[in-house]
């Protein structure tokens, strides 16, 4: 077992003629907080979709815990320990806040039809345990989520919607969590709070590895151990935040962008 939890080797992802990601390689260490940054359209979300199984790269391989996961279906990857959030929140809007988190536990708690119908003691006990666990998780982020547990997810304030999606992803007890612009749509104050919360996730879940996408690179300077910089689908730099932010290629890619805004 190597110290790398994720190894991406020379992946290329193509949409028709467009190479959204071209020959990108990187490795993420176990327990690391790894950032992926780059201007709009750089290919950040596409890489994340490949890791979580939504897209299959045309060439290249992805290894998770030294196992080749290229082309494995998304629901299986969750079972193997990869959870994610979406850039444009994809909560179950008409289900309750609580149900959203309960669904995050699916891989650990799913059950067959026979048990659902004939073993109600089991079902009820399972729900009691899950609800308790869900409430603890929500309390960690914002106790108000627990107060609103029986409200529709769509009724939450924006920042809490983003938090709820992180809760739901954490509920599967992942080894690797992929966060696609968790601060999208938040104001600067909310974003600062969120970044602190993200750092605290590792207190809650030791050894969890996180990949965080941002397009505003200053935001994650204080959070990440290392950063990968993409531009036009290609890897242009990698290293600590200090290293990449002084890399001339990064500066030119971001020129007029958010780095010096």
């Amino acid at each position: 077992m190597s110290e790398n939890i994720l190894r991406v080797e020379n992946i290329t992802i193509q949409f028709g003629g467009l190479k959204a990601v071209e020959d990108v390689s990187f490795e993420v260490k176990k327990g690391e907080i790894y950032g992926i940054i780059g201007p709009n359209g750089a290919g950040k979300t596409t890489i994340l979709n490949a890791i979580s199984g939504i897209y299959t790269p045309v060439t290249g391989k992805i290894y998770f815990k030294d196992k080749d996961i290229t082309g494995v279906e998304p629901h299986i990857l969750v079972e193997w320990g990869i959870a994610r959030t979406f850039q444009n929140s994809r909560l179950f809007w008409d289900l309750s806040v609580l149900d959203n988190v309960l669904l995050g536990m699916h891989t650990r708690k799913k059950m067959g039809l026979f048990r659902a119908i004939f073993n109600r003691d089991y079902v009820n006990q399972e729900f009691r345990d899950s609800i308790k666990e869900a409430e603890e998780l929500m309390t960690f982020f914002n106790p108000e989520l627990v107060e609103r547990k029986f409200h529709d997810a769509k009724s939450l304030p924006h920042a809490d919607k983003r938090r709820l999606e992180i809760c739901r992803a954490l509920a599967s007890n992942p080894d690797l969590i992929l966060l696609d612009e968790p601060s999208a749509g938040m104001d600067p104050a909310e974003t600062r709070v969120l970044m602190e919360e993200l750092k605290k996730i590792q207190e809650l879940r030791e050894n969890i590895t996180m990949i965080i996408i941002e397009h505003d690179m200053r935001l994650i300077g204080g959070v990440t151990d290392r950063v990968l910089v993409l531009d036009h689908g290609k890897k242009i730099s990698e290293g600590t935040f200090a290293q990449v932010s002084s890399d001339p290629r990064v500066i030119s890619a971001y020129l007029g962008g958010s780095l010096d805004a």
Binding site: I76, A83, R90, L91, L98, K110, A116, E126
Partner: protein, 386 residues
């Protein structure tokens, strides 16, 4: 105490109104009653205070409400002892409730608008007809019932697998084709009796009782249809129980997640294929069981009992009553199976009216008369409301 009284009064009121609705002779009178019922439910649900009072009353005396409700349903047909025809009609109503609950497994839980659901009903009925009338096999009825469910389920899976990736109208179109294919096949095959169908299907005999006999209780000669009513009712209650158990389990929860956003559902580790198979298997099994009650009750079945129009009717029942809410579905199915009897004068327009109901509901009240509730998990006794 006040709450129990509220529940008692409401349930008695529902009983009285239902009896009255069926007894009214005039079409106009029935129409007026129907409209006032719909309005009462609509405005009752809108008024916060009334809704809260009722919800509170029913949720704090749940067991009482349930038992009383079941007792009242058992009493219900006794008001129609003078006209066996009405007992027959409400028995058909119960069969349609079973069907609508089966359909809801796909339509309500997963948003798969199956427009060929009557095919499963027909397959169940024909299975019974073939076994008992055509081949004259003397199997115990419960075995026949089970077989009807299983055969329908096999066809359900046959429809499920090729439509696995389909959503929206692609799915609906395919189910229309499936429904028509089944209807045309039984219509054209000599083996299934062709357009003439199957005649002389024997009555159900169960634990030494023949449901076709008229029994005498306390000196009253009860019409044989009553036996079928009670049998269908027991099956209906069982189906409702199973539907409730599944809805309030992780299977129902996963269904609803897939319905809302299948990509997000997969990102939670939900294997969509498995849950679609569940929905088709259970839904079509239930429809087959409904067919197994229907065939011996009628004594004669033909392809015209299981047409596209019947499928549309079932969809209208679920949409009118309330998607994913068992009580709502029961209400919708019952209303729409009684209404045609009352509107015989307009029977030419029946499909038009169903189509209108679907359109109006989808526009003005997509959640149905009795909308689905958010899961509060009060059945586990652990998670209390705020």
């Amino acid at each position: 105490m006040g709450k129990i009284l509220t529940v008692l009064l409401i349930e008695l009121l529902i009983l009285i109104v239902s009896v009255f609705a069926l007894k009214i002779e005039s079409t106009v009178g029935f129409l007026l009653l129907l409209v006032s019922i719909v309005f009462a439910i609509y405005y009752g649900a809108k008024n916060e205070k009334i809704r809260y009072r009722l919800q509170d009353a029913f949720s704090s005396s749940r067991r009482f409400a349930l038992i009383l409700g079941i007792i009242l349903i058992f009493i219900f047909p006794l008001f129609f002892m003078d006209s066996p025809y009405w007992v027959f009609v409400i028995t058909i109503g119960v069969i349609y409730i079973i069907l609508a609950i089966g359909l809801n497994m796909m339509l309500g839980s997963l948003d798969l608008v199956n427009l060929g659901f009557a095919a499963f009903f027909g397959i169940g009925a024909y299975t019974v007809g073939m076994i008992t009338a055509k081949y004259g096999l003397h199997l115990p009825y419960l075995i026949v019932l089970l077989l009807a469910g299983i055969v329908a389920m096999i066809f359900g899976l046959l429809l499920c697998l090729p439509t696995m990736g389909m959503k929206g109208y692609y799915f609906s179109l395919t189910t229309i084709a499936f429904g028509l294919a089944v209807e045309l096949t039984i219509n054209n095959l000599e083996w299934t009796g062709g357009p003439g169908g199957i005649k002389n299907i024997p009555h159900i005999s169960l634990f030494g009782l023949n449901l076709g006999d008229s029994y005498t209780v306390f000196g009253y000669d009860l019409p044989f249809q009553l036996n079928y009513f009670y049998f269908a009712l027991v099956i209906m209650l069982l189906v409702m129980l199973v539907a409730w158990l599944i809805h309030n389990s992780r299977i129902g929860l996963s269904w609803n997640a897939i319905k809302e956003d299948d990509i997000a559902a997969r990102a939670q580790g939900i294997n969509i294929k498995v849950y679609r198979i569940y929905a088709f298997a259970i839904g079509s099994f239930i429809a087959g069981v409904a067919g197994a009650i229907f065939a011996p009750l009628m004594g004669y079945i033909a392809p015209t009992n299981f047409t596209y129009a019947h499928s549309i009717t079932m969809v209208a029942m679920v949409i009118l009553g309330g998607i994913d809410n068992i009580m709502g579905i029961a209400l919708g199915a019952f209303l729409l199976s009684i209404a045609p009897e009352k509107f015989r004068a307009f029977s030419d327009y029946r499909m038009l009216i169903y189509a209108l109901i679907i359109i109006l509901m989808v526009i003005y009240r997509p959640q149905g008369l009795i909308p689905k509730k958010i899961r509060k998990y009060d059945f586990i006794g652990g998670a209390k409301d705020e």
